[in-house]
Amino acid sequence: MSDPTNLFPALEPERYELSASLPYRFDLGRRDFFRFLGAGLLVVSVLKPAVHAQESGAGARPPHDLPKEIDAWLHIGEGGKITAYTGKAEMGQNIRTSLTQAVAEELHVPMEHIELVMGDTQLTPFDMGTFGSRTTPTMNLQLRRVAAAARDTLLGLAAAQWKVDARGLVAQDGKITDPQSKRSVEYAALTKGQQLTQALPAGDPLIPASEWKIAGTSAPKVNGREFVTGAHRYPSDQTLPDMLYGTILRPPSFGANLVSADTKTAEQMGAVVVHDGNFIGVAAASSALASKAVEAIRAEWKSDPQPSSKELFDYLRKNTTKGEDPTGDGDRYDQGSADSALVSADHKLQQTYTVSYIAHVPLEPRAALAKWDGDRLTVWTGTQRPFGVRGQLAEAFHLPEDHVRVLMPDTGSGYGGKHTGETAIEAARLARAAQRPVKVVWSREEEFTWAYFRPAGVIDVTSGVSKDGTITAWEFHNYNSGSAGIRTYYEIPHQRIVFHPTQSPLRQGSYRALAATANHFARESHMDELAHAVKMDPLEFRLKNLKNDRLRAVFEAAAKQFGWGKAKTAGQGFGMGGGYEKLGNIATFAEVNVDKSGDVRVVRVVSAFECGAIVNPDNLRNQIEGSNVQGLGGALFEAIEFENGKILNGRLSQYRVPRFSDLPALETVLLDRKDIPSVGAGECPMIGLAPAIANAIFDATGVRLRSLPLVPNGLKTA
């Protein structure tokens, strides 16, 4: 198990990532670029040189055109201003900071000298979206490469100017210095009057992590001041002159069809009313008037009976579909002969685990401001996929993509919940009718109802283990929740692992860590059950069946910090869970306290995490702590309840999310592997928590809970 990346191929976005499928167009020539950026030095990173060669094979590309497959670029203006461009989006992961660190590191300039333009479909290179913990392993690397190439170009310019060997020159603090002659020249002076383009050569050397000076440090959030003063404008804070406020009339239940609507009263109130197929919305001079106008619309809807949360898990089992198989062999994996190995096992265990639908509850609901200039559309919106939303808008309004511009101001979180462009389309539809800019901000109830949910799921696990604690057989069937993290990292000779797509009663999509949370909950709970079946310590049992060095290291580190094996008091319980996801390795240990009334309190959580070379330790801790706190909700009490096409608990007064009073003591151990490329950390740290808590509850009470959320009503009534 030297390189786990080969063993866990399911890194492609799985079905619930709602990935973009639209073609990429980039039609700026080199001269356009300088017209729009100003003179200076431009470095572009070419994503797929092979594809580029094919596309330009016909020789149609004018010599000054840039390749189409670009994923990052950086510009140093003749005034010395450094701007890096990426299609990635900031929503609280702090990549604006970590990517700035990367550029600063390679370019040898202070972070304050760098501006990062993000998530603007007109200014930044195409990007599929910000999900799957891909920013750090891919974009961080690409921006470092363009910055390194820019630095080398500047060194070359200085060398040519002074007629010396570039290898003897030093780049530091925005200057090139010749240590011999003590001459120095600022980057700005070198780029003055220039129009230089540098397409990135492959394999240029980067600064090794062991020598990082800016990357690898706990740099504070680059624009933190804007957030503590309230000055930052989130998507929902955007305004334009003459802007109207839009509100949509929602159907009474999912899938309902509009039969008739009387909009006269709303129109008489001075609102612009749009009735287009199943869509009815209004735009008015104030949000209050828009709400009143929507309330004044008399609409008749027709809907069909739909399943309810009470019958959810039966429904999922009974409604499997063939489905597409976008993840290749990620949906089914066979090794050895699971059937015969189960028959011959010393101990056999069969259990079923379930997870509920949960909501992302991004604190900023979906919001969009749309503006038309003739047949050109501009939309400011909170989305993890600005280019995907551009495609949706182009499709909805029958426009070419280059007539649509989507801008993504740093947004109020997403957690996988903002991949789609509903509000953008709604605002644009209303703005077209009103012939004025329109802003749509979803209410919390709309966000709970008309967004999408983390998929619910049923997981059946059947396993065989020998008397000495060696797992011999493993059969794992996941219905609906997804295939992320479905493969086991334990050494088991005979395996059958299958993901069964099913019809979903609710609209479902990406949620931070995807199905890795459900699959790790089932797997790591089952590991605990097996350990007890063979009367082994759960840590010892895991390590006996685990060869992956990186995973062993995090389990051992977390166990040490936690003090695994210490004596417990009445009501106290200890448990663990861990695994491998998105190239990161996590082990989470939890301490719970269950009082006589059945109230479960998570008292302490210890996480050990390893994601290669650490780019920003404090931000990494922040992500791990946040994963554990957010993960508490799905582990303990979050669940969407629904009946016949209606959400029953779609408000924050009805749907409990973790609060200050739920906060356990959080301890984080970071394993910094400077010899391994950096990978993302926004998702993986979440996956060990739920099984750790379930296992700790068992340790405290002897009660085995196999459904997430574990204790929505306390232990007794669960």
Binding site: F36, G38, G77, K81, T83, G92, N94, E115, V117, D120, L123, P220, K221, G224, R225, F227, V228, T229, G230, A231, R233, Y234, S236, Q238, T239, P241, Y245, G270, S286, S287, L289, V361, P362, L363, E364, L369, W380, D410, G412, S413, V441, S443, R444, D618, N619, N622, Q623, E625, G626, V629, Q630, L652, S653, V657, P658, R659, F660, S661, L663, L666
Partner: protein
């Protein structure tokens, strides 16, 4: 004072422009609002007959088209926000949050739930933390309202704001305004709270990114950095 306020706004805009990329991408919206808002303010000041430099800034935000049913004109409400007086024409049952955000373009206070459950809209009313989304604007006329925009003194951040930066107590930052306003109110009534008291007081504020432990730390940093005397105005 009037001119001072305008100048301050203008300087802030100037700084934004300086940081904006050459093609003026992400700040375009923000700037165009400010540009159109300015003449309105000038015009209303002329009508308000309060041109003397010593007089407090008063400007009427013409809100009749915003929230009054057609044909009805209500007397303007006087709101004292961040040391300025505003005349706002809005129905008294309008939420304070809507008035702040839509009428006055004070967007630092955030909408999160509309039912007082998340705390993202928290402001201080006569020094107490209140949820502006469930506060009717008619009930706060002539009370002292402080929003996140009113905490810093020019470039000088309030100790709680500085502590949030020092503790890295945010991820997406959407809850941060409300967290800071609640924390300011807490430290006003309890300048050196125990961690448990912080948790109890702050429990109505949600951080969905889960930075609670950092926020507790930030509040303790602020308490240590600048002990705030009980009942002090800020």
């Amino acid at each position: 004072m009037a001119s001072q306020h305008i100048v301050r706004k203008w300087i802030l805009q100037g700084r934004k422009a300086e940081y904006a990329p050459p093609v003026a991408a992400q700040y375009k919206v923000h700037r165009s609002v400010a540009q159109t808002a300015k003449p309105v303010i000038e015009q209303n000041r002329m009508h308000s007959n309060r041109m003397s430099a010593a007089a407090p800034l008063r400007y009427i935000i013409s809100a009749s088209r915003h929230s009054c049913p057609r044909g009805m004109h209500m007397p303007p409400l006087k709101l004292a926000i961040n040391g300025h007086t505003y005349d706002v024409e809005a129905a008294p049952q309008t939420s304070l949050l809507t008035v702040l955000r839509e009428h006055l373009d004070l967007t630092g206070s955030k909408y999160g739930c509309g039912e007082g459950q998340c705390g993202a809209c928290t402001v201080l009313i006569d020094g107490k933390a209140q949820r502006s989304c469930i506060t009717r604007v008619g009930t706060v006329a002539n009370k002292q309202i402080t929003t996140i925009e009113g905490l810093a003194q020019g470039e000088h951040l309030h100790p709680v704001q500085q502590a949030f930066l020092d503790a890295g107590a945010m991820q997406c930052g959407y809850c941060t305004s409300g967290m800071i306003m609640s924390a300011v109110a807490l430290l006003k009534q309890n300048p050196s709270p125990e961690d448990g008291e912080v948790v109890d007081f702050m429990d109505g504020n949600i951080c969905r990114c889960g930075t609670y432990s950092r926020i507790v730390h930030a509040i303790q940093l602020a308490a240590k950095a600048a002990p705030i005397t009980k009942g002090a105005s800020r």
